[in-house]
Structure formats: C-alpha cells, structure tokens
Symmetry: C2
Subunit: 322 residues, 2 copies
DNA sequence: TTGTAAGCGTTATCAG
DNA sequence: CTGATAACGCTTACAA
C-alpha cells in the first residue's frame, strides 16, 4: 500500500497511513534494493579533480540538464569526482556493488578505463564526449567539436588574421583532439604545427599556454582557444603584453560560458548546448534502465554519426573579441 | 574471506581468490547494508541551486577537505544539491531510507528544516555554519563571522573611510547575519542602516547591490562586502562609475578565494579556512559514525562557543583594494 | 579452521 | 481484496 497500490480497502488504508506517520516509517532502501535490484539513483562521475569540477561552468550545466531529466523520472542524482587511480578503482568497486543503477561519466581522459570496468560489471553507462578509444562500446553524447574548430579557424581567417595559433585542450581527451583537428582542417595550408600549445581547459593553463606562444612567436594575430576559461586567461596575458584584443590579437573561445558574454571585451566563442547534453545523457541512461523517456531523436539538431553516439551541433557566436 | 579474514587456509584462500576474479564477483552492497546497517558512504547536501554550488569556490573547498578525510576512512562521498521544497522532501525521504550513513549539510537557509527532518529520522548530521534556529541541536563547524565583520569595519575606519557601506549576505543565512552584525559592532556609532544592501553571495547580486548603493549614496568611500564574489561584482560597478579602487572607494571582501589574490586590484579580504572546515565537518561526522578519528580539538585554532559547535578563527589579509 | 543456520526488511507469488 | 510465505545476498554466531 505504501508503494501506491490502488486496490486497498479505504478503512485499511486509513489505518496504515496512520501507523506510518505515527512511527514515521520509511521503507528501508537496502532491503528494497535487494529485492528489486534497483536503487532508483544514478551517479554522475567526473573523472577530474574537485578544483576543475567546481571551477568550470561546464560541469554545472551538465548537472543541471541531467538533474532536470532525472528528477522528472523520480531518480536521485549523486555526484562523485575522482582523479587518482586509487580512487578510481575504489569508486568502480563501490559502483559495481549495486550502489547505483547507472552511471553518467564525464570528462573522461584516456588511460584509466573506468567506462570499461563499469560495463564489464554490468552497469549501464553513458559517456559525455566521444570516448577516445573506439573499442569502448558505450553510448555517448558529444558536441561537434571538429565543426567547432573549423568554424573558429574560418572566422579568424575571414577576419584577416595571418599568423593564427591555437591553445588546444588536453591531448588525452577527445574534445581536445577534435577541436584541434577541426582547427587544422579549417586553416588548411596556413596551419602551423609550431603555433599549437596545449592547456588543461583551466584559466591558469590558458595563461601559461599563451605566454609560451608569444615567447616563441610575438607576431601572432589570432588564437583559437579550446575553452572560454583558457581564453580568458590568454586575454589577460595578451593585455599584459601591451597588445589589444581584438585589434592586435583576435580571440575565439569555445563553450559560451556565461562569463564569455560578460567579459570585456566580450568573447567570440563556439557555443555548445551543454545543458542539453546533460539532458540527453540522462535520457539515454534512463532508457537503458527501462524508464519511459521521450525519444532522444526527437530533439532538435542531434544527429548520429558512427553508431551509438549523438552529436550536437555547435555554432559561432560573434562578439567583440574577434 | 573476501572481507579480509586472516584465519583461512592458504589453499582455500587461493581457490576463493581464483573464483572471485573468474566470476568477477563483487559483494552486493544492498545485501551487505541490510545486515550491517551501514553503507560506508556519506552525503554532502548543498541546499542551493547548481549554479551557486558550481560557481562558488567555497563549495569546492568544503568538498576537497571533507573528501580527504572521508577517503582516509574508506567512506565514499557523494553530493546532492537541492533547492526547491519538493526536492528537499524527496531528498530527505531518500536519505532517511538508509541510503547513506550520515549527512554533511552546507549552505542551509532558514526555513526548510532539512536538518531537523534528518535528525528525526535518526541520521547523523553535521552542519557547515551555525544553524539560524538555536533549537536545532546539531553539531556544526562555523567560521567566526562576527569577528570577520568587525575586522573589516575596523580596517576601513583605520584607513580613513568616512562613509562606509556594506553588501551583506542573505538574511536567512547565519553567515549573512553574523558578518553584518560584526560590521555593525566594528563601525559603532558610524554604522548607518541606510548603507546596508543584501546580496546572494554571487557576483551578479554583488553588482546589483553596489548599483543600488551608489544610486542612493554616491559619496560612499568604503564597502565591506560579505563575499569575494560579490566584491568582484561591486568593483566592476565602481569602475564603470568612473571611480578608482581603493583611492575613491576601498573594498574589503570575505572568503579569500583564489581569484581574490589574482584580481586587479587584488582584494583585501577576510580569510576563512574553508578546506579545513570541510575536514572538521567530516571528522565530526565520522566520530558520530563510530570511526576512529583524530580529535577535532587537536586542530589549531578551533574553539567551542555555545556547546556543540566549533568556530574557526578568521583573519584579515591586506591587499591592494583597501 | 570450516560449515551451517538464522535473520536483516523488503517485494512477489499464491492461496484464501 | 487480504494474509502467509519464499526469496534477495549478505553477516554473524555457533557448532563441528
């Protein structure tokens, strides 16, 4: 009756209801999970340190989107972040033990094979971002990073920039690789390997990368930066160098975080629909868990590329910085 | 044997070990929890929307501190954030069901009585920040917000400011009230009720509050802002007004987030030991759960004020902005 | 050192 | 529509 059975005598129902809040009874989750083999909760795992997770609006938006969708389905969302290998194996044991019905995995770096471990353990997983290793057969939701890189390159060229550099993301993440690849494509023959630096998507790493770039080549007049946070860092370095943005150096970022529009100068950037990515991930997972969900295909824009992934469109937002 | 029994015949042990990874067996968490009545996991609940939780470095530091301590004790940390009343009651049912061994509660606003509900349900709870309602008998770890407000006020006066305003935190949070109260004490007869505005600890709310302040009283020459994020927002408004910081308007913030030292001008602020706060909260909770923990009293600085709380010292960090 | 049995609080099944 | 009974997978205590 507590679980909402409708075929109960009103009198009995009254008695039970009374008792329930006299004793303030709450069904025991463990016992229930033992029987039903479900916990009605899913875990969002960010393979990243807490500083990055909390520092980058990207994560907040994924959480917001996923959380909306999960709440609607009556599923609790909990977060775990994890960096060291030690934590990863302890976490995967924890999750494999049936603590959670499914996992949303984001910011996966190549190397630690968390996704595979979870899948082996029979836990439904959805990844945010294309897995670098094509052998990983896990559904994922990605953004069209290659197209984004291309758009940025084309924009900078059209603007008349001659020496165009890039601050790419980490080489062990698909977002890092793909944005760089798109940039390479977009620039064509003008692409120069020596004008590539990598950062970790953080503001500090953006500053460091920009510094290295200008030490090596002071006459750079355009940079595609693979995240807005890094772009903000790069801009502060450029200013300290006494150059103006965008007159001396034009900048295109990636993500379209809120700060991008508020910054001065406001940041030209590639917009990706992060919150929607979180929503789609949640739906994909819920579907695996046997919940009723609106078809993910009905969403505007997402197409499917290789087989089991969904890729969202991105577009360029033109603002003051380029 | 799987749980580490030492009194097992080596031969048998070998056989079991073999079988375990042949079948890749993982003990079932639900069944275990059913017996032991423990899940070896605790939940950090932030009574706040995802935008604030992820936007404010405060949360990251609490998580970092707590996570260190819990990992050491072999306890998993998971996060939940919750804003609406609906989510709160669903969350408290979820937690009361035995999904977690204990709860770390932060950013509690007055009103929704999450802490009480959890305590009634018999779940160990530790609160970050003094509960506004003194009837709530829950251990907590707070910072000496009153002293912080006083320090800020005294600093601004000593600096020669004549018309000193404040952007306080939310009136339904103890940190908001206490910092304001300290400021009032520190300013003494110079305190002016009409130079008080409230914000929500976010950058945007800091901008809004500063705007209101200067509309009402353009000759303000000093502001104590109850969070660094709000202070950053206030500074940007002040600049747009064509005034200089600190020459025309001196600013003291609160929190000492990393951005405070990097901003230009760097921010004079009240430093609180947030990461340590997270650590202490975790220890207090672990102790309630019957784990062996270093005495919390052995920590540098923390004293105990009313009875069940720990209050950390704060101090003023002098930088360019005041 | 090993084996056995009881019980944790649910849900599911199946007679009444 | 109601009540009894058998799992679910583990831990614990006790007997062998």
């Amino acid at each position: 009756m507590v679980n909402g059975s409708t075929t109960v005598d009103p009198a009995l129902r009254e008695i039970v209801t009374q008792a329930v809040d006299d004793l303030n009874y709450v069904p025991n989750a463990a016992a229930r999970a033992l029987m039903t083999r479900r916990t009605d909760s899913v875990t969002l795992v960010a393979a990243e340190g807490d500083d990055r997770v909390f520092g980058d609006p990207f994560f907040a938006q994924i959480v917001r989107g996923a959380s909306q969708e999960l709440t609607r389905a009556g599923v609790q969302l909990s977060l775990s972040m994890t960096q060291s290998d030690l934590q990863i194996s302890s976490l995967s044991r924890y999750l494999a033990g049936g603590h959670t019905d499914g996992v949303l995995l984001i910011s996966e770096h190549g190397g630690h094979r968390l996704a595979e471990k979870l899948v082996e353990a029979g836990i439904p997983v959805v990844i945010g971002g294309r897995p670098l290793d094509p052998a990983v057969e896990v559904p994922y939701v990605d953004n069209d990073n290659v197209a984004g890189g291309r758009l940025a390159a084309e924009h900078l060229r059209a603007r008349g920039c001659r020496r165009v550099a890039t601050i790419a993301g980490p080489a062990d993440m698909s977002a890092g690789c793909d944005r760089l690849e798109g940039f390479r494509q977009g620039l064509g023959p003008d692409f120069r390997e020596d004008l590539v630096e990598h950062g970790l998507f953080t503001m500090a790493s953006g500053e460091a990368a920009a510094t290295r770039l200008f030490e090596r080549s002071p006459d750079i007049d355009g940079i595609f930066v693979a995240s807005d946070l890094m772009a903000l860092g790069a801009i502060s370095v450029i200013r300290k160098l006494g150059k103006r943005v965008p007159d001396d150096v034009a900048i295109v970022g990636f993500d379209d975080i809120e700060l991008a529009s508020m910054a001065e100068p406001s940041l030209t950037t590639i917009r990706q629909r992060t919150e929607n990515q979180g929503r789609l991930m949640a739906r994909l997972l819920l579907r695996q868990l046997g919940h009723e969900v609106d078809d993910v295909e009905s969403e505007p824009a997402p197409s499917t590329p290789d087989g089991r992934g969904i890729v969202q469109h991105v577009d360029l937002i033109e603002r003051e910085s380029a």
